[in-house]
């Protein structure tokens, strides 16, 4: 167990050291989400009705979840790259804890997600977002988003190990994430969608997390959203962490 912790930290450190040295990855976490915020706030936002809440306040939790979800691509592509460059072979030939390569990667993702979230909150505040809830609720919302981001890292870790190339990791991820983020409560009220999409948006775990965050940050009624968001996150981890580790153990990339 001690080995698992130290090995995980070594791998997490590796992933964090290399981040600023791969500027294209850093852009995915910084400039890109800011562009999305500005796009929705100023281009689409004027046409979207969110009764009772200013659109910028509605938008920020949605954009953060979208950013975290798309940021997972970096995990998938990075791991797939490690497979192809033989680094996974090197790790697998070392006497290290088996889950550490993946656990280290997903732990590092918590830091990058926190960074992306900070950038988005600051951007949001500049263009008119503000928290309308007690400090502890704000913190709870941040932790919930990090938990959900951590869960999604495991999904992408699995995708990265299974995909045959970084490009296919990218497209598998995109095809899965695109409908989940857009057919949700991230940018518009699901009630405005046609019935099947409305239904999907309501059951979509992304909506649960976004609604829960809005409730926590804006002082809105939470309903079951918080518990459902936590349950979904834990269920995703419980399903994908063992799948990814099993895949890694067996033989990555074959």
């Amino acid at each position: 167990m001690r080995r698992l912790v130290t090995d995980t930290l070594v791998i997490a450190e590796r992933n964090l050291i290399r981040l600023p040295r791969a500027p294209e990855l850093l852009l995915a976490f910084t400039v890109q989400p800011i562009m999305f915020v500005l796009l929705f706030r100023y281009v689409f936002g004027g046409a979207i009705r969110t009764p009772g809440i200013p659109y910028v306040e509605f938008l920020i939790p949605g954009i953060i979840v979208q950013t975290i979800a798309f940021g997972g691509f970096v995990t998938a592509i990075g791991l797939n790259d490690d497979v192809h460059k033989g680094l996974i072979d090197r790790f697998r030939s070392l006497p290290m804890a088996r889950p550490a390569v993946l656990a280290g990667r997903t732990s590092a993702d918590i830091i990058t997600n926190a960074l992306a979230m900070a950038i988005l909150i600051v951007t949001g505040v500049i263009i008119g977002f503000s928290f309308r809830a007690p400090f502890l609720h704000v913190i709870a919302g941040i932790l919930l988003l990090l938990l959900f981001g951590y869960a999604f890292s495991w999904v992408f870790a699995f995708v990265g190990l299974v995909a045959s190339t970084p490009e296919s990791a990218n497209s598998i991820g995109f095809i899965a994430i695109f409908p989940l983020t857009f057919i949700s409560s991230a940018f518009v009220l699901p009630a405005t969608m046609p019935a099947p999409l409305h239904w999907f948006a309501d059951v979509n775990p992304f909506s649960k997390v976004i609604n829960a965050t809005r409730a926590l940050w804006l002082g809105l009624p939470a309903g079951n959203n918080i518990w459902l968001a936590v349950a979904w996150s834990l269920a995703i981890i419980a399903a994908f962490a063992p799948l990814a580790v099993a895949r890694y153990r067996r033989q990555a990339g074959t």
Partner: protein, 327 residues
């Protein structure tokens, strides 16, 4: 090691990828402290073999032990004792040379301080000191391979697997890599080296095992393999073609076979290397034959390979691609 058995023992190892039979029952023993060169064309099964020994891949049948530990059931023990370096140069491009080695050292369980000290030592040894703080992306191919080899040596493993360590390197880097490997071997490490280059096996390996289509087809020292297909060839170029018969008669006692004549050149297979040229010169001069040129040619490993497999060593690209797709 548990007792004084071989460093590597392989029995009946088989592995298939779909319809492709990568290994068709391989038996092999590697004595401690030697360099075994596993020589074969692309797609012969070399990489698959190394991956099984390095605990990365499971054989379909058969068993393999490294220093007495089973590569499947005691994989953890095996991993503590092996180093793996290969054609992919598995280092992180976005880390510096030193950061790569420190990471590997810590994953072997060393403290950061100990791993840093060991990393610096290795970088100095592999002439990478000046590049220690540079990101690996900026390294040349040869530098990457050296760093990859350094990473394999972090824990001073008694057994080292080198999978085509010089494939894709330019000739100068290749010779540099050979020197590094030679030094290593002098330190007593057991090395299993795969290569498709006959020259490399000839230069580095104590024992050569020839693999083709997933089977070992010959094993021995470079000299033993060359002897298998006949000894030395003496080639004598005469000044005057008319003296051919005289030269033949003069040289016949040196060989079990009749000499061959082609134009001005008389060729005979001789029994031994030592003293052959002196004896040939004396016999020819006694017989009054004027010699323009005279050379003793050994069969090369190329000749060996061609004789054993029926094809040259560096071919079968399509088979290689198949292996790559699966391995």
């Amino acid at each position: 090691m548990r007792d004084d058995e071989a460093a590597i023992t392989v029995r009946g190892v088989e592995k298939s990828f779909g319809d492709v039979r990568a290994l068709a029952g391989v038996d092999l023993d590697v004595a401690p402290g030697i360099v075994l060169g596993l020589l074969g064309p692309n797609g012969a099964g070399k990489t698959t073999f190394v991956r099984i020994l390095a605990t990365l891949l499971r054989a379909d049948a058969g068993s393999a032990r490294v220093l007495g530990f089973d590569v499947v059931h005691e994989a953890g023990e095996v991993r503590k004792r092996i180093g793996l370096a290969g054609q992919y140069a598995a280092v992180d491009e976005n880390l510096t040379g030193l950061e790569n080695l420190v990471m590997v050292g810590r994953l072997y369980g060393s403290s950061r301080r100990a791993a840093t000290a060991r990393g610096r030592q290795l970088l100095a040894h592999f002439a990478l000191e000046d590049a220690a703080k540079r990101v690996v992306k900026t390294y040349s191919g040869g530098m990457r391979r050296r760093l990859d080899l350094a990473a394999a040596l972090v824990a001073e493993p008694p057994v080292l697997f080198l999978d085509e360590p010089t494939t894709g390197l330019d000739p100068r880097s290749r010779i540099g890599m050979w020197r590094v490997i030679e030094q290593l071997v002098a330190g007593g490490t057991t090395v299993l080296l795969t290569t498709q280059y006959l020259e490399e096996a000839d230069r580095l390996a104590d024992t050569i095992a020839v693999i083709d289509h997933g089977q070992l087809i010959a094993q021995g020292t470079s000299d033993e393999l060359k002897d298998q297909i006949g000894g030395e060839r003496l080639e004598v170029r005469l000044e005057d073609r008319a003296q051919c018969q005289t030269a033949m008669r003069a040289l016949t006692p040196m060989s079990d076979e009749a000499p061959a004549i082609e134009g001005h050149v008389v060729t005979i297979n001789v029994r031994q290397r030592g003293g052959t040229i002196v004896e040939a010169v004396r016999r020819l001069s006694d017989a009054g034959v004027d010699v323009e040129d005279l050379a003793l040619r050994r069969p090369t490993l190329d000749d060996v390979f061609l004789t054993l497999t029926g094809h040259a060593a560096e071919e079968s690209e399509s088979a290689a691609e198949e292996e790559e797709a699966f391995a």
